[in-house]
Amino acid sequence: MLLFIEQVLNGLQLGFMLFLLSAGLTLVFGVMNLINLAHGSFYMVGAYVAATVMQASDSFVLALLVALFTAGLCGFLVEVIVLRHLYKRDHLDQVLATFGLILFFNEGTRMIWGRQPLFMQVPELLSGSVEILPGIPYPVYRLVIIAIGLAVAIGLYLLINHTRLGMRIRAGASNRSMIAALGVNIRWLYSLVFALGALLAGFAGVMAAPVFAVESGMGESILILTFVVIVIGGIGSVKGALLGALLVGLVDTLGRAFLPDLLQMFISSGANSIAASLSSMGIYLLMAVILAFKPRGLFPA
């Protein structure tokens, strides 16, 4: 039972990590109707910059700030230089262009930082573990990721539903030409939304850097999960992204944790590798089931 609670916590933690990534992606898709495969690149930029600054300055706060700024700036520049010209083109063109951006960013990090994966340690204050339940120490840093995910969720909710900027974002999503006619500079609004999305991805990258390998191409391995999240949640919905991320995190973690034992009760040989294959299918099964009942995701925007 204790183990189950611990695994649920692990699932939530993975879910919040995915939420940080998918919130930006779903926002960009919903508001700007743009498919951005290069979202994982901003995650990578965040992680690389954070690791570099942390190594140089030994300050996590500084690393966080510089990384957020750089990721946001990268997003802004990418929007202005590349993506702005693609809004009127169809999705295939956007996919091709943003795939090109992935290659660009991956090679770019290789040229700047080399092939050596970077090292980033958990900030002193957040290292170590607390005993959340008797006999189960849990790393503080992972609890912090959960807390930050929650905070970002609340912050985004307030931003989108209770500010003037949020109102414009929502208006831009539902009718682009009307809001432009009303005198809102939609171009800059889009740049801003895109930069915000990139900044959130960079944030996820910073949080991931001490836990995961900081290496060129790290964005792609997590990008697929992120797309599953926003498809499940309903493309364009931040609320959907939150719920989708938590669902994916839980299903993935619990599947990995308990399927092997479960299968072993029924089959004797080879249960381990069958369980491994099944649990990696878990999230896609989840997606298929949800889409069968709700073809536009849980919260269609």
Partner: protein, 387 residues
């Protein structure tokens, strides 16, 4: 008409001019230089190049021309490159492949076309047993070797139970099979994870609950970095020692993992501190040329080049007579950075295997050789090879 004549004479001339250059023996290297695993191929190539450079552009006193192509970790691409090497470049010696799946797509085909393939890394079991071939040599190890040595070491060290994990793909299964072949204790958990997985929280929680005496893992590349970081963040490194093959503890990975790797024992056929003259000059020459510590992959590239050099020296150039060249390769008459080195009947190394410990001192984090576990160890498949 006139222009045609001019054209053909130009062609004839250029062929004449090219003739002396083509006297160099061509060596075709297919390796992985892009993707996350690009540093493996980079180190193999750099080790190989170092040997050529030390020979003044020659291996075994014979001029060589090294051609390098990137397979992008894709079997299909590796095969295309191999075909091009054979058809248009008339290459007779190939090497370089990092990954077993690429090797399986390339090696069986090229050795049938009378090309010698000398592997500097991948050693899939399928090429060591029944599928062995007279033109295929492996200068690194059979894939299971570095796991077998850990199985023996963990047994010797008296750990009664072990929790073992690897990615869910053929090399992962071979790894755990190799470990279990020599591990005599109880395996309390055998887990296959997703290839490319980054979060190991679920596995770590399960692992903690089974209370094993030891943990053995094979998670190459970034997966291993993720696992080791999270293992120590979960506080498990204080209670349960972790063991693995050298693949997760090369000089580059150690830099990315940091303190979380300190104290881990890992199995290897080579380390920078092995005490022999060849190794000492290799390590210092590599550091001087490339400004970084060599990994085991670099050492394998270097040995492969010198092995080829020894055969070129014995035959005096391009392998005209395949039998002579093969016999020369079989003798493995070169100074290996590993010290002892000879080939078994299946053209795989019979060599010593060591356990190393990750230590931290004033020069940084690196591996220290702890003890020799196997002397003249031969792989488990040699018996079913008919060579």
């Amino acid at each position: 008409m006139k222009s045609k004549l001019l054209y053909s004479s130009v062609v004839a001339l250029s062929v004449l001019m090219a003739a002396p250059v083509s006297a160099a023996v061509k060596i075709g290297m297919i390796t992985t230089l892009t993707t996350k695993a690009g540093y493996l191929g980079e180190d193999i190539r750099d080790g190989f190049k170092l040997a050529i450079e030390q020979g003044g552009g020659k291996l075994g006193n014979v001029d060589v021309e090294l051609m390098v192509e990137d397979d992008g970790r894709k079997p299909g691409k590796g095969r295309q490159i191999a075909e091009r090497y054979i058809k248009s470049d008339k290459v007779k010696i190939m090497t370089g492949i990092v990954f077993s799946n690429v090797a399986m797509a390339v090696v069986p085909k090229v050795v049938k076309d009378n090309v010698f393939y000398i592997s500097p890394n991948a050693g899939p079991s399928a090429l060591a047993g029944k599928g062995c071939h007279e033109n295929y040599f492996n200068a690194a190890w059979q894939n299971d070797n570095l796991h077998e040595v850990m199985g023996q070491y963990v047994t010797d060290a008296g750990f009664k139970s072990a929790y073992i994990l690897a990615p869910n793909y053929p090399a992962g299964k071979d790894a755990l099979a190799g470990f279990k072949r020599f591990y005599k204790g109880k395996v309390v958990g055998e887990v296959y994870t997703k290839l490319g997985q980054s979060d190991y929280a679920a596995e770590l929680a399960n692992l903690r609950s089974t209370k094993p005496d030891a943990v053995f893992f094979f998670l190459p590349g970034g997966m291993g970095i993720n696992f080791l970081k999270q293992y120590s963040q979960a506080g498990l490194n204080k209670t349960t020692p972790v063991f693995g093959p050298a693949f997760s503890f090369d000089a580059r990975i150690l830099k990315a993992v940091g303190d979380a790797a300190v104290g881990v024992h890992n199995g290897s056929q080579w380390n920078f501190d092995l005490d022999n003259a060849t190794n000492k000059q290799f390590v210092s020459a590599f550091k001087e040329k490339y400004g970084r510590m060599p990994t085991l992959y670099a050492s394998q590239g270097y040995d492969t080049a010198n092995l080829i050099g020894s055969a070129l020296k014995a035959t005096g150039g391009e392998p005209q007579n395949m039998v002579d060249f093969r016999k020369a390769l079989e003798k493995a008459n070169f100074d290996s950075v590993r010290g002892n080195f000879r080939f078994g009947n299946n053209h795989h190394p019979v060599q010593d295997l060591y356990v190393r410990e990750v230590v931290k001192d004033s020069t940084g984090i690196h591996n220290k050789t702890v003890k020799k576990v196997f002397s003249n160890h031969q792989d488990a498949y040699a018996g079913s090879c008919n060579l």
